[in-house]
């Protein structure tokens, strides 16, 4: 994380502020910072997005490739997450410094996407046992300003929403083999269904209360947080406690409830935004053809 | 040099140019040697006693670091395995207590591996250490011996052919390869490595043959050093 140093008294100030539902940037405990999302920003990917949450900034690119399926699930496609921490975000990411953070973020993404409902992997299968689509999601962290996990997951959902998988033709060839042919038109694509794609909500315990979307200063004051993947319907698709501290068992239900509500609101506003973005993209394209 | 058992009859005379060595082959190293034994050749550079990171320093002796480089590519487990023998020999031979808090770096670069690599490498290091003027308790001398089943003979035993410093072809035909390192003073065993099924009797025989063969290597060492010193005097 970006180097933020806080003295004991500064920490106390933040903790006491939160106790009174007053955070040092004026938000209340369950408020998010301003989010900016843009999709289709990188032209040589199949889908991409750029996101800014407070002072956290990141870029997501999705690439779709042909590959062979997992022998245990021959009909399904695969999805891989890869997170890269740019040394721009923090000098300590130079060399192998950011590796642990990257591994952790990609594991949490895998965790929340690893079930039947988040993304229907069957739609990514082509020929059982032989060919399938492999979706590579690459996240590049440009700036760390707190609450990276939520930001990453929102950007990933936006990028996946924006991803077009080429419509592929499977024809029966000689001797029982099957041949595949790619469409000639690069715009002949099918968009990935992201209706059930989850976003992450991090609920940080600070003092005896919990906050969402903690800034990097608040992250320093918090010693335990819950990260949960929440779908549009308010279901969880994976959860993990982060940080070295422990949690009171009684506070966990409250935190889960908060996460559920916040997650649903996030989905509503994100979907609205994505819809308008998509509409705009179509408009621009039309303009281009004229 | 091939010897038949029992009579120690020399079947093949060793070629006169069996050992070759060029001391001080590298100008920038503290000591170096290009050493070849038959077709196998090795280049060794010795640096030291040199500076060492404070955390690695030992207060009562010097450290020996050996880097064994293959002909191509980066070192693999094979090189690490051989490296350990060179290191063990050097740690024993060099008077490490004279140079506390320092390190000797020894780089062994394989130029050509045509059999008897380990003994060639150890002898090469020994020459390079002399070139560097490192104080040593004794000179380690290495000899490789191979045992091959006599193909023509029908007899049950005592028909194995013993080959001193075998080539790679002879190594592949042999059932057992042994490398011995003796110290030049007491002729005790410094280090040894043998692989291949071997009866104790055969082992004893190899050891004896190897011990005899050290004389020749030692003589070669002496000649090389004499030559070097003589050349130095002329200058």
């Amino acid at each position: 994380m970006a180097k933020v140093m806080l003295g004991e008294s500064e920490k106390w100030f933040i903790i006491h502020g939160i106790q009174d539902d007053m955070r040092n940037d004026g938000r209340s405990c369950e408020d998010y910072r301003h989010i900016e999302v843009e999709t289709g920003v990188v032209s040589n990917t199949h889908g991409s997005s750029r996101l800014r949450l407070g002072s956290s900034e990141l870029l997501v690119g999705v690439k779709v490739e042909l590959g062979s399926p997992d022998p245990k699930a021959p009909n399904e496609g695969l999805i891989h997450f890869h997170v890269d921490c740019s040394p721009n975000a923090d000098p300590s990411f130079q060399g192998r410094g950011g590796e642990d953070l990257s591994a952790n973020i990609s594991c949490i993404l895998t965790r929340i996407y690893c079930n039947k409902s988040s993304i229907d992997l069957n739609t990514l299968g082509i020929i059982p046992h032989k060919q399938c689509w492999v979706v590579h999601v690459d996240v590049l962290i440009l700036e760390c300003g707190g609450n990276l996990l939520d930001a990453v997951s929102i950007a990933v959902k936006a990028a996946l929403h924006n991803t077009g998988v080429p419509n592929i033709q499977v024809t029966d060839g000689d001797e029982g083999t099957q041949e595949i042919s790619l469409p000639d038109d690069p715009n002949d694509v099918k968009f990935i269904n992201t209706v059930n794609a989850p976003v992450l909500v991090t609920i940080s315990k600070v003092g005896s209360r919990h906050v969402v979307d903690a800034s990097s200063e608040e992250e320093l004051c918090c010693n335990a947080s819950l990260v949960m993947g929440v779908t549009k319907r308010g279901r969880t698709t994976g959860m993990r406690k982060m940080g070295g501290g422990s949690l009171d068992p009684e506070s966990i239900p409250e935190m889960i409830e908060t996460g559920k509500n916040i997650g649903r609101q996030l989905h509503i506003s994100l979907d609205k935004l994505l819809k308008t973005e998509q509409g705009m993209a179509e408009d621009i394209e039309k303009a281009g053809y004229l | 040099m091939i010897m038949k058992d029992d009579m120690h009859e020399v079947v093949e005379q060793p070629p006169t140019s069996k050992f070759q060595c060029e001391m001080n082959a590298l100008k920038n190293a503290d000591g170096s040697a290009f050493y070849s034994q038959g077709e196998t050749s090795v280049m060794v550079a010795v640096y030291g006693p040199g500076d060492l990171k404070e955390t690695k320093q030992e207060i009562d002796k010097a450290l020996v670091e050996v880097d064994f480089r293959p002909k191509l590519g980066s070192p693999t487990v094979n090189e690490k395995y051989l490296e350990r023998f060179v290191q063990g020999v050097c740690e024993n031979a060099i008077m490490l207590a004279l140079h506390p808090r320092t390190a000797f770096a020894i780089i062994v670069q394989i130029m050509q591996d045509q059999g008897s690599l380990l003994s060639c490498a150890i002898n090469a290091v020994c020459v390079a250490l002399q070139d560097a003027g490192v104080s040593m308790k004794h000179l380690p001398v290495a000899v490789t011996v191979a045992l091959r089943k006599e193909s023509e003979s029908e007899l049950e035993d005592a028909t194995d052919v013993l080959i001193i410093n075998p080539t790679i072809k002879e190594e592949s035909e042999s059932f057992s390869i042994l490398t011995f390192v003796f110290d030049s003073v007491n002729k005790n065993l410094l280090c040894m490595h043998s692989q291949g099924p071997l009866l104790p009797k055969q082992h004893e025989r190899c050891l004896k043959a190897a011990k005899e063969a050290t004389e020749e290597v030692l003589k070669f060492f002496r000649d090389s050093v004499t030559q070097k010193v003589a050349a130095g005097l002329e200058l």
Partner: protein, 280 residues
């Protein structure tokens, strides 16, 4: 894609397959008609455990923990001088954790180089046990915890967390509590399977067709005496109320495990005392 060759090990084939992949394996349902599991247990019944301290004499503290086929071994070194100067803290010690799977512990031969999921598991372990260690009593020091999974037959993380905390006790490290953990497989709204084996564990690949969307796993680590939760991990698709119910069950079963672990620890302590007395 070929991996860069590992020059520190012997060369191995790039790809190899488990022979069992090419047989027809009949899929067993989680519960049979009598509500019993494949190994004959009831849904709420955990496996028998075996716990032993001090198995690794070279380490300051160690523990071997077995839940039927799942086997983990753990060692603790320290407190000792901190290795990296950047991690130095004047008022607090530093805890380091590494969890590794032995290559033969899973059905597929494992890779020697740790992957992202190994890093995550080490991290979960670290977070689960660090709230139990009195780190401020070890200024300037470092404590290393190493866990090797010898055989994975489900519920590895709870086993690793429990073993690590027992090993810490064995090392004489000051702790707030002995941490125990437990995991639950959720197969439908009302079916909570305690202490699942690897065939019962949740994985999107071996899901049965079911109308109930609630399919997943929950793991909870608990500091039972002071009633604090040090780790919660869930995966799979769960409704919030089901998740909360599962967390509660997990806590209950971790609490049960604690009394077993306590018995084990006290017995081993008594044994040491007895030996010492007879030696005198």
């Amino acid at each position: 894609m070929t991996m860069p060759t590992d020059s520190r090990r012997l060369p191995a084939p790039d790809i190899s397959y488990n022979a069992k992949l090419f047989t027809e394996i009949e899929k067993l349902s989680l519960l049979d008609d009598e509500e019993k599991r494949a190994d004959g247990r009831y849904v709420t019944q955990p496996r028998d455990v075996f716990l032993q301290c001090g198995v690794i004499t070279q380490a300051k503290g160690s523990a071997y923990f077995e839940m039927n086929k799942t086997k983990v071994i753990c060692s603790v070194y320290g407190p000792k001088d901190i290795e990296m100067r950047e991690e130095f803290q004047i008022n607090k010690g530093k805890l380091k954790c590494e969890l590794k799977y032995a290559p033969y512990s899973s059905p597929k031969h494992g890779d020697h180089i740790p992957g992202a999921s190994d890093v995550e598991k080490s991290d979960i372990l670290l977070e689960a046990i660090s709230s139990g260690v009195c780190l401020q009593r070890y200024p300037k020091s470092q404590i290393d915890v190493y866990v090797i999974v010898l055989e994975d037959d489900g519920s590895v993380m709870p086993a690793a967390i429990t073993a690590a905390s027992v090993a810490l006790v064995d090392a004489g490290i000051e702790m707030y509590d002995v941490i125990t953990a437990s995991s639950i497989r959720i197969a439908g709204q009302d079916t909570f399977i305690i202490d699942p084996t690897s065939s019962e564990e949740f994985s999107p690949l071996n899901l049965e067709k079911s109308n109930d969307l609630n399919q997943g796993m929950v793991m909870v680590a608990l500091l039972p005496s002071i009633n604090q939760v040090s780790s919660v991990v869930s995966s799979g698709h769960l409704e919030c109320n089901v998740l909360q119910e599962a967390i509660r069950s997990c806590r209950y079963s971790a609490q049960n495990l604690h009394s077993i672990v306590r018995k084990c620890l006290v017995n081993s302590l008594k044994k040491i005392l007895k030996q010492r007395n007879t030696a005198k």
